[in-house]
Symmetry: C2
Subunit: 342 residues, 2 copies
Amino acid sequence: MDRIMLAHGGGGKAMEDLIKNIFLKSMGNEILNGMEDAAALNIEDVVPSLPDSGDCRLAFTTDSFIVKPAFFPGGDIGRLSVCGTVNDLLCRGALPLYMSASFIIEEGFEIKKLEKIAGSMAKTSREAGIKLVAGDTKVAEKGSVDGIFINTSGIGVIPPDINISIKNARPGDAVIISGTIGNHGMAVLSAREGLEFESPLKSDVAPLVEMVQNIISIKGAVKVLRDPTRGGVAEVLNEIASRSGVGIEVWEEKLPVDPAVLSACDMLGFDFLHLANEGKIIAVVAHEKAKDVLEAIKKSRYGEKAEIIGRVNNSGLVTLKTRFGTFRIIDRPFGELLPRIC
Amino acid sequence: MDRIMLAHGGGGKAMEDLIKNIFLKSMGNEILNGMEDAAALNIEDVVPSLPDSGDCRLAFTTDSFIVKPAFFPGGDIGRLSVCGTVNDLLCRGALPLYMSASFIIEEGFEIKKLEKIAGSMAKTSREAGIKLVAGDTKVAEKGSVDGIFINTSGIGVIPPDINISIKNARPGDAVIISGTIGNHGMAVLSAREGLEFESPLKSDVAPLVEMVQNIISIKGAVKVLRDPTRGGVAEVLNEIASRSGVGIEVWEEKLPVDPAVLSACDMLGFDFLHLANEGKIIAVVAHEKAKDVLEAIKKSRYGEKAEIIGRVNNSGLVTLKTRFGTFRIIDRPFGELLPRIC
């Protein structure tokens, strides 16, 4: 294999291998190697002259967005680019504060579209309480970039006593998803391919600030947070199992899926567990706090359809208990199911 | 004008108008509107629970790199992407600390090239003392992105007592450039067009950490720092004049230019003042400290050919005093002289 394949950008095993073999090999360090959704930086390392920082840390994350089409049912690349970075910060337990935005635009792109995208970013930033403080604009000649690509990077602050990491799942913990699965992936796919379904499919793209702030304030409850974007729920569950050294059992009957997504999946032969979500979190929480967390999510914006979907065990495998009581393994996707989903 | 033109990415007037009319209009705030090379964030705003932070600030900046070709004499997109962000942080007087890197790669891109780029980023990061702590990788299908684009965002810390801003130039101040002008732009152009000159042209791409740390430690000396990238020296001088509300007189006989760049400019009809530099700073310094600053730059790596090239006045214009004693106005470029130079 001597060339980049679409699979290398799919959020699955091929991407992990590429990152480890190329980027971590030459540029790895104790922070980058953690491969978390956001880096956690000790304030004392950032500003050594500071007196005791009371165990606060900075969270720092970056994401580029190349979604096709740039406008899709339920959102656009502008809203997506803000939510992606906001939700990555939240997944370390950080309060999102500051954001940068860098645009790569194709020569000939309609300025009206750009205005719409900027307006969408502004609206979403206000909702998320994050402030855009740095930007960059590049233009490439026609044919060198497909429309518009946006990078956002974000800074947040992780309060003392918060320790959320992909390594923290332990047998007995409950696994919660904050709502229905697969809406973003299926909405983008249908927009791209011009598919029409009986019920309209809409992306779930949303900033989950209120939801995450509500649940991390429940003491000793939340251990892992991850947003199931590329690679979907299947990828995230496998990453948690592998990085925490545990197994996870998921109950099919508890998985919340919109009927429209389910029937589109049936028709097109997709597994909704592999579809991207852009307004959902998977939370691994202490067993005894699971109901409190579920209730807090359900009361939050975008969390009405949350469910406890499974339990962490020590099997080392991610398994699905079907409606019929049988088990199957939930594999991580190798590569790219749907390119340019985010 | 209803579509994006290459000029909108050229670093000149067209780009400024686009930023103001689209991005600042919908997303502007007191920090973003400053349009500095990096945002300065009060630590107290970032971490309100902190005790007195001693007037330290965080610097935060972002840049996307789409240079064509990705490999050029004297550097590559990897080294460029690190230097661009490092130098932007330095231009606010910050010590660069942490960096993110986000890759958008074309399907089919050679993995060997990617390894070379990552190696180059690693080497340059080590030289600059900046640590990569967050990353992202996207792959777009063949034809949707031209090779590889890289975004880097960076965080640094601005020590107390440092107040460097594009608004700080005052009549009487000296204007210094840290070395020869136009090397990056001409090197990329020659590589792209397959031009061959008698003397080889090399990009100046370099991280200027040592140089800037040396000069900002001279008390009360440095008022403005800016790296003359897109739009070149002409653009930066005009930005300083306009944002500080001053004029600048530049002395042609003092401008350091490599003979190879000069003869290439003559041949191709370019003005070297419009060419991009990626390892240079323009410093506006207090008149009485100008010689100390010049000496400190000359002693630093990449600063041997520094010169005092002019003086700030109150004319409101940027003028060039030619070798013949006549004057001409140095205009800011309207748009894109050389697309995809960085």
